[in-house]
């Protein structure tokens, strides 16, 4: 070992000092340029005062330091009043199917059946349907976003917690596959539409949203074992713009692109228990 080698601590001092200076120098030049010079110069050109420009660069005020913000527009009427607040989602998560059962036996059973199997082709099956989907529709009936002579009155008579309980009750009913079919029975073009969509018409696959656990919009209903006539009617109403409680027209846009035979084929497909 070379005897002249100095102590590590002495060797270390310049490293400590210079490393600290270098690191802080670099950060400081970043702050100087990114937070002061660039936003102030950009803002000045557009007539934005320096304080606002700096705050915008820091993300304290909204907007770009280089442009004036555009003004807001006037409020319109919403297509659906339902707001998925954490509070509402918690009500749905805490809903009690047993409390729901009482209300179902009192009111809903006449059309939707005690097990959620509809008694007539114009009513949807509700067994195993997502609670959020049932709640959304009941709520839309209540607010008038969706219109139906029977349902509007019924939904208006129920409070929010009861809606959630009823939804939870039907969500908890098992599906029973009353119309068993195999995929071989379904036309290949329809299976294609369900699984892969149609890129040339910009139609996403139905299964991307309407399968349980697909991760699509929270209010999307699960489609399986649904009443065919009901589905056909709803798709036609969406296509014609007669039903419009789908937020941002997600279903109106898609339904308008489907041909009558595709609507019929999809409704037939979803009559069976495919998921």
């Amino acid at each position: 070992m070379a005897p002249s080698a100095p102590d590590p601590d002495v060797l270390d001092r310049p490293w400590r000092i210079w490393a600290t200076i270098a690191v802080f120098g670099i950060v400081l030049s970043g702050i100087l340029l990114g937070v002061l010079i660039i936003p102030v110069v950009q803002g000045h050109r557009e007539g934005i005062d320096a304080y606002t420009a700096i705050c915008r660069a820091l993300g304290i005020l909204p907007g770009s330091p280089a442009r004036q913000q555009v003004p807001d527009r006037t409020p319109p009427t919403p297509v659906s009043q339902v707001v998925w607040t954490p509070h509402l989602l918690q009500i749905l998560a805490d809903a009690n199917p047993e409390r729901g059962r009482a209300k179902v036996q009192e009111v809903c059973v006449a059309c939707h059946g005690e097990q959620g199997v509809s008694v007539a082709p114009e009513y949807p099956n509700l067994a195993g349907q997502s609670g959020a989907a049932i709640y959304k529709q009941l709520s839309d009936y209540r607010s008038g976003s969706r219109a139906n002579p029977l349902m509007t009155g019924i939904a208006k008579a129920l409070d929010e917690a009861t809606l959630a309980d009823v939804a939870a009750y039907y969500a908890a009913q098992p599906m029973r596959n009353p119309n068993p079919a195999t995929l071989a029975d379904a036309p290949a073009s329809i299976v294609h539409l369900v699984e892969l969509g149609d890129p040339s018409r910009n139609i996403p696959p139905c299964a991307a949203c309407h399968r349980a656990g697909a991760g699509g919009p929270i209010e999307t209903p699960v489609l399986a074992e649904q009443v065919k006539e009901y589905l056909v009617l709803q798709l036609k109403m969406y296509a014609a713009g007669e039903r419009r409680n789908d937020v941002y027209g997600r279903m109106r846009t898609i339904a308008a692109k489907l041909s009558p035979s595709e609507i019929d084929g999809l409704a037939t497909y979803y009559r069976a228990g495919f998921r």
Binding site: G63, V83, P205
Partner: protein, 185 residues
Amino acid sequence: MTDQPAATHERRILGTELLWAFGVGVLVAAVLGMIVFTALTIDINPPSNVERIDPKTLHLSGEFAEQNLGTTVGADGRVTVRAIATQFMFVPHCIAVPQERLVTLRFTTPDVIHGLLITGTNVNTMVVPGFVAQVYTTFTRTGDLLMPCHEYCGLGHSDMWATVQVMPDSDFKPDRDGRVSCAQR
């Protein structure tokens, strides 16, 4: 081996490495210099509009309600596009914009994280729920461009795209409400 040659190596090597580090500094300076220059002269920034908006109530009222979406021309002549990215489509599905005019694009989403780009242009932004994503740009060429969603947003992600119609300024005619829609073809 003696200390003498090793010591001379060490000094020379460190000197060379420092010289090289200077070269690295030139690269860093060139990269940063271009960025700072274009930021100072022609306002090139990444889209960073820290503007909060509640994704849960977008559809009820305000500028991102369904009726307000699309292209509008304000009284001052500013062109603003408002669009929603939602699973799995853009609303509106076709966006009309003028050529060679400053356009403000405003996007937000009611559901999950999306993103978008417009092919052949520098329009590119993430659309994060809770925030308005805003891009200022000038479209340099006319024609139909694709505007796909480029951030995975769910199983229908691959089929999520819209069209951007860049029209000559002479064809870009707002209606009485100041709105412009895509030409039907």
